[in-house]
């Protein structure tokens, strides 16, 4: 999001943001997302987390966290975070009034065809999020760190978009997509193997006794296993260990 009183002549990526809002803490360490990139002294890093952040930023950024997911579950009953995170961004900017924010949420969600009671829940959630942080204002233009312009060499048969190395999927830790986490309760589990069979991501393996073990690096939190488990032995938890 860019805000300015004068015409905005920037587009696309924001290379050094005043504020970074992170919806899911595990994204902080995702090598492709890199949300901390471009943050400089005085930037605000806001993380949706119920826990005290252990992160020690190398730069002097202002670190804030609130349990937005907890609030979303309280008001809406689901982990729908867009209005809530938007509300935080509005407040941090110091430029958007509470009323403007509420009007916008009502208009946009009505366009999506949501029922009035659902819209109202989102508005209540947004209002609480808005009041949960203080304004810190914005800073000026975004500049990408400078690098010289180079000539691209022709690589011939090596410059072709072929992928030869196999098994790259494990490099992508899709566990960062997860909001809710399945936890197997050893007391209730009968080692039936149904969760192992149903997991669409192949993230559940079984040990020699047949008990399941979940690979949290790649589990996306779809919760198919919790639904399929005949003993209801797989609990849903928020913010189980994400690293």
């Amino acid at each position: 999001m860019r805000l300015s009183d004068s015409p905005i002549l920037e587009r696309g990526y924001i290379f050094n943001p005043s504020h970074v809002l992170v919806t899911e803490p595990s994204l902080l360490f995702d090598p492709t997302v890199k949300p901390l990139e471009g943050m400089t002294e005085g930037s605000v890093l806001f993380v949706n987390s119920s826990k005290d952040m252990l992160l020690v930023p190398s730069r002097k950024v202002c670190l804030l966290h609130r349990d937005i997911t907890g609030l979303a579950l309280k008001y809406i009953g689901r982990d729908i975070l867009s209005a809530a995170m938007g509300a935080v961004a509005c407040k941090l900017s110091g430029l958007i009034s509470l009323q403007s924010m509420v009007d916008s949420i009502e208009e946009e969600l009505a366009e999506l065809g949501l029922e009035p009671d659902v819209i109202e829940k989102n508005v209540q959630l947004a209002k609480e999020c808005y009041s949960s942080v203080e304004s810190v204002g914005l800073r000026g233009l975004s500049h990408r760190p400078s690098h010289k312009v180079v000539e691209v060499q022709y690589l011939g048969e090596n410059g072709i978009p072929d992928l030869l190395s196999m098994g790259n999927t494990v490099l992508r830790k899709t566990g960062s997509w997860r909001v809710l986490t399945p936890i197997v309760s050893k007391d209730l589990c009968t080692a039936c193997g149904i969760c192992y069979t149903y997991c669409p991501e192949g993230c559940i393996s079984v040990d020699e006794q047949g008990y399941p073990s979940i690979n949290y690096d790649n589990c996306k939190g779809c919760m198919v296993c919790t639904i399929e488990c005949p003993r209801k032995a797989i609990k849903i938890e928020r913010e189980a260990p994400w690293s």
Binding site: Y154, G156, E157, G159, P161, D162, L163, L164
Partner: protein
């Protein structure tokens, strides 16, 4: 020279025997595919291309040619099958035309991006609507930016030879791009001319087996044309294609030199016809260049110092050859047998750009649109275009838009047909 010779053996420079035949353009490119020992031919019929795949399927049915022939359900499937087969390491030939090329269009970019070298013959036919079967080059030039190399043939012999050259250049590991060989429908595809069939052994020597890079094989997975959601990667790979195409210009020259040594026919990226001492040069491509040359002969007799430059390669664009032929000329007349609606001819701006930075650039580079939908171009029209260009040069003026070549009798014909159509 154009005696009807059905079959006649004689010795070439290398001492091998060759066969002279009276072939249509369609048969000639089918012969080229056969001589190139292609492995796979996905096909779909469309006028005026169908004779090519009919010829090939007949040979395969009779056991005279060893290749897998599959009739697909559309040109989109055809091109998908062609590109993927080439990615497995098969030598692939296919052919289409006009609406068919456009129906498969999105796959052109994919195949080029996979860097899968196959050869596609496009039999040029003007695009609907209104619908016609006769040729112009809006179909093939729509594929201009796809990454396919483009070779444009004037006659039957050249159509055959360019298919062989196209395989050689496309499969070269310095290039690895697919190629289109274009020939005009009817005027070339269904016109019989004497052509020399190269001997199989010689073609095998000129065109050794295709050695694919990272072919898709059973139990050896490889992902081609991978998603690159990181913008610099897309930019990098796309520009690699451009550099590959630019290098193809020299690879073509090398291959043409070898071709000349083996088959005694010369193919440069452009062909000059009476250009040396010309003041005005007509730029054309494909089969209508023959009538352009005939017009040059007559105009020379009338005292016009004209010549003709024929574009054989269109991608990669042979800038250096164009500069060499056209610098210092008084006038250039670019005849586009195509139209970019709202601008004019497609090749004119490219020719003009190639010459722009020269101190001795031509005084006039006249954009001309002619021969759309196969409309013939008569001597009067060539003469008119040359005179317009020369008048502009003497007035030190520039053209104010493309000049459409159209005759009085044609205008009268249109008028009478419009009357019929309106019921008047």
């Amino acid at each position: 020279m154009h005696d009807r010779v059905s079959k006649k053996g004689y010795k070439n420079r290398e001492g091998g025997s060759m066969v002279l035949k009276m072939l249509t353009g369609s048969q000639a490119v089918a012969w080229a595919a056969r001589l190139a020992r292609v492995d796979y031919i996905p096909a779909y019929p469309i006028t005026p291309q169908t004779e090519i795949i009919e010829t090939l399927s007949e040979w395969i049915r009779k056991g005279e040619m060893e290749a897998t022939f599959v009739q697909m359900e559309s040109e989109h499937s055809l091109l998908t099958a062609a590109g993927t087969a080439a990615a497995t390491g098969a030598r692939v030939f296919t052919a289409t035309s006009s609406q068919g090329l456009l129906y498969g269009f999105e796959m052109l970019y994919s195949i080029a991006g996979w860097r899968a070298p196959l050869v596609l013959v496009n039999v040029a036919r003007a695009l609907a609507a209104p619908i016609t079967l006769e040729p112009d080059h809006n179909d093939v030039l729509a594929a201009r930016d796809s990454g396919f190399l483009q070779f444009h043939a004037e006659n039957v012999q050249e159509a055959l030879d360019l298919v062989l050259l196209a395989y050689r250049v496309a499969e070269d590991h310095r290039v690895l791009l697919p190629a289109i060989v274009n020939m005009d429908g009817f005027h070339l595809s269904f016109t019989r001319e004497q052509a020399e069939l190269p001997e199989q052994n010689a073609v095998d020597q000129f065109l050794p087996e295709y050695r694919p890079i990272n072919p898709i094989r059973a139990s050896e997975p490889v992902a081609k044309g991978i998603p690159v959601l990181i913008p610099p990667l897309y930019s990098f790979f796309k520009y690699q294609m451009h550099m590959a195409s630019r290098i193809a210009l020299n690879v073509f020259r090398e291959a043409a030199k070898e071709f000349e040594r083996m088959f005694s026919r010369i193919y440069a990226p452009v062909e000059e016809y009476m250009v040396d001492d010309a003041n005005t040069v007509i730029v054309m491509s494909n089969s209508f260049a023959s009538i352009g040359k005939q017009a040059v002969n007559v105009l020379r007799d009338e005292g016009y110092k004209v010549g003709l430059l024929r574009m054989r390669l269109f991608r990669p664009f042979p800038t250096d050859d164009i500069v060499k032929s056209l610098r210092g000329k008084r006038c250039v007349v670019v005849i586009d047998q195509n139209i970019s609606v709202g601008k004019g001819g497609i090749t004119h701006p490219e020719i003009a750009e190639a010459l722009y930075h020269l101190e001795d650039r031509p005084n006039v580079i006249l954009p001309v649109v002619a021969g759309l939908g196969g409309k013939s171009i008569s001597l009067e029209e060539f003469r008119h275009a040359v005179r317009v260009a020369e008048r502009l040069a003497s007035l030190k003026a520039g053209p104010d838009g493309p000049l459409l070549l159209f005759r009085e009798d044609e205008a009268a014909l249109v008028e009478s047909l419009l009357k019929t159509a309106s019921g008047g």
